[in-house]
C-alpha cells in the first residue's frame, strides 16, 4: 500500500562517502515501510545548527523493503547538507516522508531515457529500479562537471545502459548532456525521457524531447518551507497556474510547464 506521509526518527545505518562532497546515507525506519514511489522525496531535519532553520528536501534515492531502509544521496552545498552528510552511523535523523508525486511508470514495454545532472541523479535511481520491473528498456545518461563527480555508475548500470558526459571532458563525452550522441538522430527511438538536474539542463532536454515529440517528465527543485503543501512557497508556473512543487510535483510533464523552450 502507498505509504502515508509521516514524521519519524530514522537510524543512520550507513554513511558512504562517494567523493569529496557526495555521500549516501542509508536510513532505517522504525516500522515497516509502505510503498514509496520513484520521484518522491523526504524532508530532513538538520539538528545542532545555529543557521539551518527549516528542513532540507532530498529525493529518496532508493528503498530497500527487506532491510526496511531508504537511502538519501547528498551533495554538500551548504551548512545543512554538510551537517547531514557528516552524520554518525547510529545517530538518528528526523525525516518527514514520503512526499510529492512520482514519475509515471508505463505499464507496457517502453524505451526510456533517463537524464541526470549533478545531484539530480538522485531521483533517477529508484525510477530505474522500478522501470525495469515492468520490462522497460532503460538508458541512463549522466552529466557532470568532471570525472570525479560521476559516481554510482556501477549501480546505475545494473538497471540500464549508462552513458556519461563531462563538461571538462575528463570522462565520457565532453560537453553537456544534450551534446551526447543519444540526443542525435536516434533520439526519437525513445518513447519517454525522464530528467532531473539543473534547470538549464532540464530545459535543454525538454526542448529536444519536444522537437521529437517524446513524452518528457522532469523533477523540479524549489525553495521549500514545508514540503507538504501548506506554505505555498514552492510554486512552479504551469499552464494551469501556480502549482506546488512539493505536492503537485516535484515531477511535472514538461508540456504542463510554462518554460520558454
Amino acid at each position: 500500500m502507498q505509504m502515508r506521509k509521516t514524521v519519524q526518527e530514522l537510524k543512520v545505518i550507513s554513511n558512504q562517502q562517494l567523493n569529496d562532497d557526495h555521500h549516501i546515507l542509508q536510513l532505517e525506519a522504525p516500522e515497516p515501510l509502505g510503498i514509496i514511489k520513484p520521484g518522491q522525496f523526504a524532508n530532513l531535519l538538520v539538528d545542532n545548527s545555529p543557521i539551518v532553520f527549516l528542513r532540507r528536501p532530498f529525493s529518496i534515492y532508493s528503498v530497500d523493503y527487506v532491510k526496511n531502509t531508504i537511502s538519501i544521496y547528498i551533495k554538500i552545498i551548504g551548512e545543512g547538507t554538510r551537517k547531514l552528510a557528516n552524520c554518525q552511523v547510529g545517530s538518528y535523523i528526523n525525516v518527514m516522508y514520503p512526499l510529492g508525486n512520482s514519475f509515471t511508470i508505463p505499464a507496457d514495454r517502453e524505451i526510456i531515457l533517463l537524464v541526470g545532472g549533478g545531484s539530480g541523479v538522485a531521483s533517477l535511481m529508484g525510477l530505474a529500479q522500478e522501470l525495469i520491473k515492468n520490462s522497460n528498456q532503460v538508458s541512463i545518461l549522466i552529466g557532470a562537471r568532471s570525472l570525479t563527480d560521476l559516481v554510482e555508475l556501477d549501480e546505475f548500470s545494473k538497471y540500464g545502459t549508462v552513458y556519461t558526459t563531462t563538461e571538462d571532458g575528463s570522462g565520457g563525452v565532453k560537453g553537456y548532456v544534450t551534446d551526447h550522441p543519444v540526443f542525435g538522430d536516434k533520439l526519437s527511438d525513445f518513447t519517454r525521457i525522464y530528467s532531473c538536474g539543473p534547470e538549464p539542463m532540464m530545459k535543454a532536454v525538454a526542448a529536444k524531447a519536444k522537437e521529437n515529440a517524446i513524452i518528457c517528465e522532469v523533477s523540479l527543485e524549489n525553495s521549500m518551507a514545508c514540503g507538504f503543501g501548506v506554505c505555498l512557497c514552492c510554486i512552479a508556473e504551469t499552464i494551469h497556474g501556480h502549482k506546488c512543487v512539493c505536492t503537485d510535483g516535484p515531477v511535472f510533464n514538461t508540456n504542463q510547464l510554462k518554460w520558454q523552450i
Binding site: L45, L54, A225, C226, H242
Partner: protein
C-alpha cells in the same frame, strides 16, 4: 488534566491552540499526521473574493531563526472555498476560522458575506496585515482611520465571531488595537509577519521575487510577546497571540503576556505535530505548577 478550555467571544475552544493562517493549509494536509479535531481551532489560508495567483517565485528565504515569505495570498477565491473546500471541512469537530483579506473594502465585505453563510465556520480572522500584496492588506492595518473603515464595514455584514489580525509594522500597536476594538472586533490576533528582506550576496539579487517579504519564526517572538502584552493592556476583548511559537514554553509566555489563545505558525512546517505537542505541554505545565485551569495564568505576569 487541567481545564484548557477558553472562550473567545462566542467561540468555545476546547483548548487554546489554533493554527495560524497560511501555515496549516485547510487542515486536510495534516490528516496523515494527526487528528486535526484535537486542536482548539484552525485558521485556514488567507481567502479573498477573487482567486489570486499570488506572487512570483522565489517566495521563501530562510533567515536566522526564521523565514521570509512572499506568497501573496494565493487562493482560489471565497466561492471556490465555499463550494469545493468547505464540504471537506465538515468532518472536523473543532472551530474553523477563515482568514479574510481584500484589496478594497468592498472585496472584504463580499468575501465576509460569503463566509457568513457557512454554518460550520465559527468565525473570521480579518487580515488587515498582509505585507505581501500591493494593494490592501497591510495598508489597511497601519492607521486608525483605515482600520475603522474596514472593520466597521465587515462588522455590518458578518455576524459571527470576528477576530481582527493586526500588523506589527506600526509605531503604536496599542492605539491601532483600540481602534479595531472600537470598530467592532470581537477579538484581536497578532502578530502577522514583520516586513523584511533577504539578499543573496553572491548573485547580488534579492532572494524573493517581490524583494521584501514577511518575517516569521522564533526570531520575531520577542517582538510578538511585547506587542501581545501592550495590546492586552489596551483592550478588553480577548487577544490571540502568535509569532515564533515553537513549543509549549513559548505558548505559556504568550498566555502570561495576556493572550487567551495562541496560534502556531511556522512551527507547523518544521514539525507538523507541533500544535499537538503544545497542547500536551500546556497541560503538563499547568499540572506541574498546580494550576487547575488555563485561565489562572492568562495575563498573570508578575511585574
Amino acid at each position: 488534566m487541567a481545564d484548557l478550555s477558553i472562550k473567545i467571544h462566542n467561540l468555545e475552544l476546547k483548548n487554546p491552540v489554533l493554527t495560524a493562517s497560511g501555515t496549516f493549509g485547510y487542515g486536510l494536509e495534516f490528516d496523515d499526521f494527526f487528528d486535526v479535531s484535537l486542536l482548539g481551532g484552525i485558521v485556514v489560508k488567507g481567502t479573498t473574493i477573487h482567486p489570486r495567483q499570488g506572487n512570483g517565485y522565489p517566495r521563501m528565504a530562510e533567515t536566522a531563526s526564521g523565514m521570509l515569505n512572499s506568497v501573496g495570498l494565493q487562493n482560489k477565491g471565497a466561492r471556490y472555498f465555499a463550494t469545493d473546500i468547505y464540504p471537506d471541512l465538515l468532518k472536523y469537530n473543532t472551530n474553523i476560522l477563515v482568514n479574510v483579506s481584500g484589496s478594497t473594502i468592498d472585496e472584504y465585505i463580499a468575501c465576509a458575506e460569503i463566509i457568513n453563510e457557512l454554518d460550520h465556520i465559527s468565525g473570521i480572522e480579518l487580515n488587515i496585515s498582509c505585507p505581501n500584496v500591493k494593494e490592501g492588506g497591510m495598508a489597511f492595518g497601519t492607521s486608525c482611520a483605515s482600520i475603522d473603515a474596514v472593520v466597521s464595514a465587515v462588522r455590518a455584514v458578518y455576524h459571527k465571531t470576528m477576530v481582527v489580525k493586526l500588523s506589527p509594522n506600526v509605531t503604536d500597536i496599542g492605539e491601532l488595537a483600540k481602534a479595531a476594538e472600537f470598530s467592532g472586533a470581537d477579538s484581536l490576533s497578532l502578530i502577522n509577519t514583520l516586513l523584511g528582506m533577504a539578499i543573496n550576496a553572491e548573485t547580488r539579487k534579492p532572494v524573493l521575487a517581490t524583494v521584501t517579504g514577511g518575517l516569521s519564526g522564533p526570531a520575531i517572538k520577542p517582538i510578538a510577546l511585547r506587542m501581545v502584552w501592550e495590546v492586552s493592556k489596551s483592550v478588553k476583548v480577548p487577544v490571540i497571540g502568535m509569532g515564533g511559537i515553537m513549543n509549549a514554553t513559548d505558548a505559556i509566555e504568550f498566555f502570561l503576556a495576556g493572550a487567551s489563545a495562541i496560534e502556531v505558525g511556522t512551527a507547523n512546517y518544521i514539525d507538523p505535530l507541533a500544535s499537538l505537542k503544545i497542547i500536551d505541554g500546556i497541560d503538563l505545565y499547568l499540572n506541574r505548577h498546580k494550576f487547575s485551569s488555563l485561565k489562572d495564568i492568562i495575563g498573570c505576569l508578575h511585574l
